[in-house]
């Protein structure tokens, strides 16, 4: 799907163009951090509290792999029937082709799924890895307390490893920074609630960064809001092009480089008005509520604890979130993306399908990996789905 040229053909780079060079900016930021002695901490899950990393004076960088190109290298070590995100991430390690992964002073592993958990063991053979244990029973009263302890242990680990003291003031500062970033990105995502949004879902996905909390990024988010407020709704190239079908996309994250299914959906005449996944709204729906919790570690833990991840049982919150997002973004159908061998999302899809039936939203589940081999088949299904909507 081509990005739509700005109505205003000025020579200054638009915020969209700025984020099209996001990896370069992150590279520069990481290089600058290294030269200043600031550590780089790799993360692979939205549960990892970036605030703690920032408060330790380090830069949190997302290492999730989105490239089909690194999978073959990973399969020398990992089974073929594993989630492509895990394989791609590990493939970057094997091939040494992700500078952020190479430079990372610490890699935080999360027990979000069994595949990742075991991959981290292999990664830990060559790299410093710290594993965060996530709660699994979302509604168990002890789970939150365990998670607070786990977050506190993580803070202490960073203090020891990087020889810093993570004070309350630094934590609060980091929380304010991350809250500001989330608020800006939330507002950008909120633009899609309009009847004729001024951007596509694919464009919205561009507005994110591998490294969080970078001031120039935050400035660009703010500028993007202004720019998009004035921009006309991108439509098909011809006047006769039908109104796009509004899609709520849920399921697995679209790591940088793995946007194929989103492109297919919008290429078939859809408009992804909401992404309820870890690269979309899911991790930015809630902020760290410093005003409600005097202890910042606890406040941070609470924010992350509420993430409706499929690793949780019972993950009722995801269904509630989907219900709210459907009311707000008014999709005409629900598409669920599941990466091959992602068991938790795959099994949970049954409950999502039931919810879609209840909400009277046509539902389509797409199970795939990073290879483009099934693109034509996926497009066919998406087209058929849209025909049932129109």
């Amino acid at each position: 799907m081509a990005t739509i040229a700005s109505a205003n053909q000025s020579s200054a780079a638009t915020p969209l163009e700025y984020f099209s060079r996001m990896v370069d900016h992150c590279y520069d930021a990481a290089e600058a951090a290294k030269s200043q002695g600031r550590p780089l901490v790799g993360i692979m899950c939205e549960f990892t509290p970036r605030e703690i990393i920032l408060a330790a004076g380090a830069l949190p960088v997302c290492l999730c792999g989105g490239s089909a190109g690194t999978i073959a290298a990973a399969e020398q070590y990992l089974p073929a029937n594993l989630c492509p995100l895990i394989k791609s991430t590990f493939g970057y390690h094997v091939s040494g082709s992700n500078p952020f992964l190479k430079w990372a002073d610490l890699i935080v592993g999360e027990t979000t799924c069994d595949g990742k958990k075991k991959m981290f063991e292999l990664l830990a053979a060559d790299r410093p890895v710290y594993v965060l244990e996530l709660p699994q029973k979302a509604e168990d009263p002890d789970a939150m307390e365990n998670w607070v302890r786990e977050v506190r242990k993580f803070k202490e680990h960073l203090e020891t490893r990087f020889r810093v003291r993570i004070t309350e003031a630094r934590l609060q500062e980091a929380c304010r920074l991350m809250n500001r970033e989330r608020e800006l990105r939330r507002q950008l995502a909120g633009l899609m609630a309009a009847d004729a949004p001024s951007l596509t879902g694919r464009e919205l996905l561009e507005f994110k960064s591998l490294i969080s909390g970078l001031e120039p990024d935050l400035e660009q988010y703010a500028q993007a809001l202004e720019w998009l407020g004035q921009r006309r709704a991108p439509r098909g190239t011809t006047a006769s092009a039908p109104t796009p079908v509004r899609v709520l996309l849920t399921g697995v994250p679209l790591a940088h480089g793995a946007e194929r299914v989103l492109d297919l959906i919008e290429g078939c005449g859809g408009l992804v008005v909401c992404m309820e996944n870890c690269t979309g709204l899911k991790p930015i729906l809630e902020d760290v509520a410093l005003d409600q919790e005097p202890d910042p570690v606890r406040a941070i833990a609470r924010k992350y604890y509420h993430l409706p991840c499929s690793v949780m049982t019972l993950n009722q919150r995801r269904l509630e979130t989907l219900r709210e997002l459907a009311a707000r973004f008014r999709p005409q159908c629900l598409i669920e993306l599941v990466w091959q061998a992602c068991l938790t999302y795959d099994v949970e899809s049954w409950r999502v399908r039931k919810l879609a039936e209840e909400l009277r939203l046509p539902y389509l589940k797409i199970t795939t990996d990073y290879s483009p081999a099934d693109s034509a088949r996926i497009a066919g299904r998406v087209e058929a789905l849209f025909e049932t909507v129109r």
């Binding site: 046509p362 539902y363 034509a376 088949r377 066919g380 299904r381 087209e383 058929a384 025909e387 049932t388």
Partner: protein
């Protein structure tokens, strides 16, 4: 008004002509799929027109469907097989609420609303093991034609267990069964059973009735029985099941032209 539907399937091209005033099918035809899909489709359309004693120029609207639909550039538009099969089935049997289509390289299940709209659908297109291609491979392995494979299955007393999820592995499994001396009849019935069970999984638990069956594989003797056993209910083969998609496309073409 006369409209045409072209179903550019994975194994064959199908054409149907439809008279929208009289709500009648004027002609149908089939040709093997090939490299020059568009030319083959154009030739087939000419042939079907000739056989129906119609001038090709009298055909007003053309809709292409099937895997190769985008290659048929002379069509006015394209619509997916899902919508076309549902529309064709609704014309032939308006009472049908669930539709099973087994074609050359995939199988589909569609839940239909009153009026023939698709409420939900599922497709098995990851592997040819649930499709006509599987039957072809097995017929070849057993050294019989496709028609004879169906007849064989009718004569079987029980069905051999074929569990492989992939045509290539299933073929290996069949070689093993033959080596063990399992009769060809049982293998033929086993293959049909395996396909039917796969389709039943696709259809899910809350399948509504009556169930219609279309696609080229519906012509195979024994397949209906295998499906009925897998689904534990009656299944109705729609008339000329290999043309349902082309017919639906022709009907939709007529509807489109009226709107314009």
């Amino acid at each position: 008004m006369i409209s045409a539907g072209i179903d550019a399937g994975s194994r064959s091209l199908k054409v149907a002509l439809f008279d929208s005033e009289r709500r009648q099918i004027l002609g149908c035809g089939l040709a093997d799929q090939g490299l020059e899909q568009e030319r083959l489709a154009a030739d087939l359309l000419e042939r079907v027109c000739r056989e129906a004693r119609l001038d090709r120029a009298a055909v007003r609207g053309i809709v292409a469907t099937g895997y190769g639909r985008n290659a048929i550039r002379f069509a006015d538009t394209t619509i997916t097989e899902i919508t076309c099969h549902a529309r064709g089935a609704h014309h032939l049997a308006p009472e049908v609420r669930a539709l099973i289509e087994i074609g050359g390289q995939d199988s589909k299940f569609m839940a239909l609303e009153e009026g023939g709209r698709v409420r939900d659908f599922a497709m098995n297109d990851r592997c040819a093991a649930g499709s006509g291609r599987f039957l072809e491979v097995v017929a070849g392995r057993l050294g019989v034609g496709l028609e004879r494979l169906g007849e064989l299955s009718l004569n079987s007393r029980k069905a051999a267990l074929i569990s492989s999820m992939c045509v290539v592995f299933a073929e290996t499994e069949i070689i093993g069964l033959l080596a063990e001396g399992v009769p060809a009849e049982e293998i033929a019935a086993g293959v049909q059973k395996a396909i039917a069970q796969r389709v039943a999984v696709l259809a899910g638990r809350s399948i509504k009735r009556p169930i219609g069956f279309t696609g080229g594989v519906a012509l195979q003797s024994g397949m209906v029985r295998a499906l009925e056993e897998a689904l534990a209910c009656a299944v109705q083969v729609l008339p000329q099941p290999q043309y349902t998609g082309a017919l639906g496309a022709a009907i939709l073409a007529a509807g489109r032209s009226r709107e314009m």
